[in-house]
Amino acid sequence: MRKVFEIALGILTAIGGFVDIGDIVANTETGARFGMSLAWVVVVGVVGICVFAEMAGRVATVSGRPVFDLVRERLGARVALVNLLASFFITFLTLAAEIGGVALAIELATSVNYLLWIPLVAFLVWFVVWRVKFQVMENVFGLLGLALIVVAVALWRLHPDWGGLIHGATHPAVPKGEGHPTWWYFAIALLGAAMTPYEVFFFSSGAVEDGWTRSDLMVNRANVYIGFPLGGLLSLTLMVMATLFFEPRGIEPGHLSQVALSTALVLGKLGLAVLLVGFFAATFGAALETALSCGYTVAQYFGFQWGKFVRPTEAPRFHLVTLLSIVLGAGLVLSTLDPIKVTEYSIVLSAAALPLTYFPILLVANDPDYMGDKVNSRLGNAIGSLYLALLLVVAVVTIPLMILTKAGS
């Protein structure tokens, strides 16, 4: 019975924790411009992260050490350092975007300029990382993030033309008036938003923080194979809402406030309020995860003690890196760089860095020294390798496409 409760809680927090500012921005902007023609990318992205997150979780559960910790042993100091620099950089950029996202969410509720909220948000993020127990942190923000389901409720109430939507999703075609390069650029952004590297670092380290053992492999699988796809479905509802409300009107959303309009129109003030809670929880939760991931990656490369499962004086460098990342991340958005723009860049660059961050996972998950009898199945390897090939192609075309399409403008 206890196990069932644990699995249910894990799934719910996985759903609530899936969507972050990157998914909100990517799905809404794509729906507004390209309708449902890129919905398939979200499916591809969700399958990808399921496969690799399960691997990363399994590695940490079986070997007792997170994937990133093992990368250096497996790939050597040089390659792992390049991996660290890339992973840290995009995780840091994502952290800045999430802090901006939290500030924007609070701005929506209070009408006080988001810049004024950033220092408070940064302090709160740090405070929760410093003092709140890991499981409590995960559960509270994961469950609160479920408030985003209000978008699905709004969609349901609308009684949209489901047939038309499904047709648009299953017959991908570049809409009239849009260019192919831009279409592909948005596809890359969507993929990066769904398959964010920090998700994997956090999930893997989280398995150790939670003290998972072999008996928890089931929980790991349930969280990933049920929770993540449902989370992906939630981000797709954002795309659908944008398709229904923004595309026909020619609205190109560039503000978080616009995202909330559709839900407000259908469900009124209460729906709007619930949605704002959802925005806050999703972005704050992601800010926590990215902040911790900044600390995890650096500490695990150098071998420092890391983790919330020890007292802070036992892991000084880990906490210092986390603190500095939060401060610098807040500084980045305080520079009045548009948080939405920072988000757009973070998801695209994440996509470009994916082969670098995902390849070691595949490698380590196949290593019998760490995994014992729990190495990847042949199917798992086949899918994993297929994805890596795809991600390599994505990585190569990202920067040229960014220049060609002027970052999707």
Binding site: S111, G250, L261, A264, G268, K269, L272, I403
Partner: protein
């Protein structure tokens, strides 16, 4: 070699930014893009007004949506006005677009002011001209892609 490639990349990116424009077509297409951006802002504002009319949203939230819409439209116009029209033919295009933009921005400002004051009942009336303006801006954008 690497620095040369970096320099080339930089030039490519910078050339994407605004500057003096040589041909009518390029200028017209920039006008079209401006119109498109303003349509986006106007339609956002109209959606917000419709939410206000049906009492679907808080005044504070609406004030923000309308203020952002006004800001976006103003920014689009500002960027366009900064471009030097290359010849007299483009002058006429500029007048045409400005003729649409000025009343639009004025309405958006009215909406923002009313919303921020809490006069939500006035919003539908103030938004009335936007329906026609939006259509004409959209036609302009289609004509000058």
């Amino acid at each position: 070699m690497r620095s040369r490639i970096a320099a080339l990349l930089l030039v490519a990116i910078v050339c994407g930014c605004t500057g003096p424009v040589r041909s009518f077509n390029v200028y017209a297409s920039k006008g079209g893009k401006t119109a498109k951006a303003v349509v986006s802002a106007v339609e956002t504002a109209r959606l917000a007004v419709s939410a206000a009319a049906r009492d679907r949203a808080y005044g504070r939230y609406l004030g923000q949506v309308l203020a952002e819409a006004e800001r976006d439209a103003t920014a689009a116009q500002g960027t366009f006005d900064a471009i030097q029209p290359p010849d007299r033919r483009t002058d006429r295009l500029r007048e045409e677009l400005d003729g649409l933009l000025t009343p639009t921005l004025s309405s958006l400002a009215d909406l923002r002011i009313a919303a921020r004051r809490g006069d939500l009942v006035d919003l539908p009336r103030l938004a009335a001209p936007l329906a026609g303006l939006s259509k004409r801006l959209d036609d302009f954008a289609q004509a000058h892609q």
